[in-house]
Amino acid sequence: MEPKIWRDMGLSDDEYQRIEKLMGREPNFLEVGIFSVMWSEHCSYKTSKPVLKKFPTEGPQVLQGPGENAGIVDIGDDLAVAFKMESHNHPSAVEPYQGAATGVGGILRDVFTMGARPVAVLNSLRFGPLTEENNKYLLDGVVSGISGYGNSIGIPTVGGDVYFHSSYNGNPLVNAMAIGLLEHKDIAKGVATGVGNPVMVVGAKTGRDGIHGATFASVELSEEAQPPAVQAGDPFMEKLLMEACLELIQSGAVVGIQDMGAAGLTSSSSEMASRGNSGIEMELSLVPCRETGMTPYEIMLSESQERMLIVPQAGREKEVEEVFARWGLEATVVGRVTDDGMLRLLEKGRLVAEIPVKALTDEAPVYHRPSQEPDYYQKLKNTKLENIELKDSAENVLLALISSPTIASKEWIYRQYDYQVGTNTVVAPGGDAAVLRVRGTSKAIAMTTDCNSRYVYLDPYIGGILAVVEAAQNIVCVGAKPLAITDCLNFGNPERPEIFWQFEQACAGVAEACRALNTPVTGGNVSLYNETLGQAVYPTPMIGMIGLLKDLDQVLKNQITSEGEQLYLVGEREGELAGSEYLSRFEQLEAGSLPEPDLKEIQKRLDFILEGNKQGLLLAAHDISEGGLAVCLAEMTINCGAEINIESGNQLKVLFGERLGRIIVTAPKEKSAALETLAREYDIPLTHLGSSKGKNLKIKVAGQECLDVPLSQYRPLYESAIRDIMES
């Protein structure tokens, strides 16, 4: 075989030799194609595997950890939550609407394939600054794609996060997370077992779209990289497919089920056989195709959307067909489960490929990439920030920060999402985390996505910790207890030692924080090669966390609703300038040394808030993140002003310094004493800040009046900043 063939498919010469050795012969074109997608980074995790091994994945709450289509955690009452996050970065860069839409479609399939009914979607987005037309175009397209798909399928999009930073120019990040509910008995898995059981393709017909998409996802974006034919989504088809699959799973006829995501029929069949320690034989001429004359290669590598592979019990094929027919869908037997461990493909009876399944999965190469601390690291860490002073009046700084797209209200985005369908959304987008009630119980689940990649860039280890901490804070701020996470690890080209170092360090940080906060990793997704023209995105290990509220009545607000609420700061009074929004915006500097968070202390503070809420001492909570304390207060006082008096501290660091692990809470006057007592019991720092009052936000620091702004001034800025940019 010509080296050009495998090289064009993204295989290295070493990898090709490994294939020959595993096969014991020269593979044919189709077989090389199959190996190339299965061994792509996207499917094989060949680079990331050794690193991901370090994540804590166990806990009493975990019913299904990494390795399946989605993770599952127990929420009691025989109920469980399935959830997972995934990237669709490169397709969205090429065609933002369809790229984002099919991203939503794909992650939903991952969840309902587990037997769970999807109840919510979140999205985590990163774009270059909106001062550039192309980034506006991408944001607009991505948001309409998410809206177009999620709304039509009738699952609420309830949250997410968005940041704008120049490192994402040309390579936006589009990560989607889906959450589903199920009963323990309905957990389904992606396994093919039972020799002789049929293998069925269900849902949409196979077309020539997205061939080699998994490979495309595993290379850098460049002028030459040929994007595959774009996949278009059909949310209506997906909705029917979802209803049919859930109905079928409940019938008990299903042995194994898996969606056809990246690498389509190839990955679904070989992964199911691999998990089942079995083999699969398929007659490709039986696969329903949308176009005529499709070759076995095209059929195996197509990434047409809205398809699933199902292994039902032998003899129940008719039942499967009937369920799907009721929803107007096709279900076709295309093969059967065997016991010889081979993926065997026939075309009209002629053998066209025969590969040991394990060669495609377990035997995929694993790389221990060299890792090296990048030059920038020490330099930025040692940048002196001591002499930096407040550049402008505190009022002007606050108004500028609050109207910068990363901090401003995301309403322009989420009003395009149907966040209410299902009538379970208790905390809608705009809060710290979304909250959905679980009908038939008194419980609710909370969910959030977070990652400040500037922190991760400055210090990947600490930044990784902080991404998890921020997610946990957001969950706690709505009154829920953090349960577990999923992640989506977006990095540059791991073949560059500096990038691989970022990856290793960030994952170590995530692992450390998950261990300390008792939120195991139940699954996730790795998206490498996020680079344009040799420029990597900021390392972005997105964290999707879910939490549980035992009692729906204990949902905490994130805003002040009435006068006389007592405001308290949990945590340090001063933040740091390192990595802060202030520094970036007013000094054009992204530098500094991030203090290593004390996870034990942070856990204590989170527990304190949960306990205070349980005892009915709290009215609202909001965590301090980008922009610092002043921004946090402004966000809390959108409806009612406050008078704040902080006795000591450096004005700049108090108002705009950043440091995670700090949360502002409010209590009714008559509960203040009890709250203060509880803080002493928990041995955590609690500072009384002042009380809600009037229509202005007034802040005094160290006896000096530094800020007095009417909310009628900052509220419109906060609310319309993104809209004004997007609709001008």
């Binding site: 077309g207 020539r208 996949q231 278009a232």
Partner: protein, 80 residues
């Protein structure tokens, strides 16, 4: 002034959910329909009398705005 009539159609390999839905509906209503594909039809009036210039402009705006070259093809006719 010149008027351009533009047809924008989905590329062959791209799924057309709208067309398939209409196709299925018509079939279930017993019409002898084999297939339906749905695209866009636009009428653009240009403030330009020179046909050559107009043609150039139309190609530009079709590529930039009226169609999405990644998934669609376009064609147009100019008329006086």
């Amino acid at each position: 002034m010149l008027k351009a009539r533009v047809k924008v159609t989905l590329k062959k390999s791209i799924l057309d959910p709208q067309g398939s839905a209409a196709e299925k509906a018509l079939k279930s209503m017993q019409y002898p329909v084999e297939s339906v594909r749905i695209g866009k039809f636009m009428e653009v009036v240009l403030n330009e009398d020179d046909k050559d210039k107009a043609e150039k402009i139309m190609h530009e705006i079709c590529q930039k705005l009226l169609s999405n070259p990644v998934i669609e093809d376009y064609s147009f006719e100019l008329e006086g």
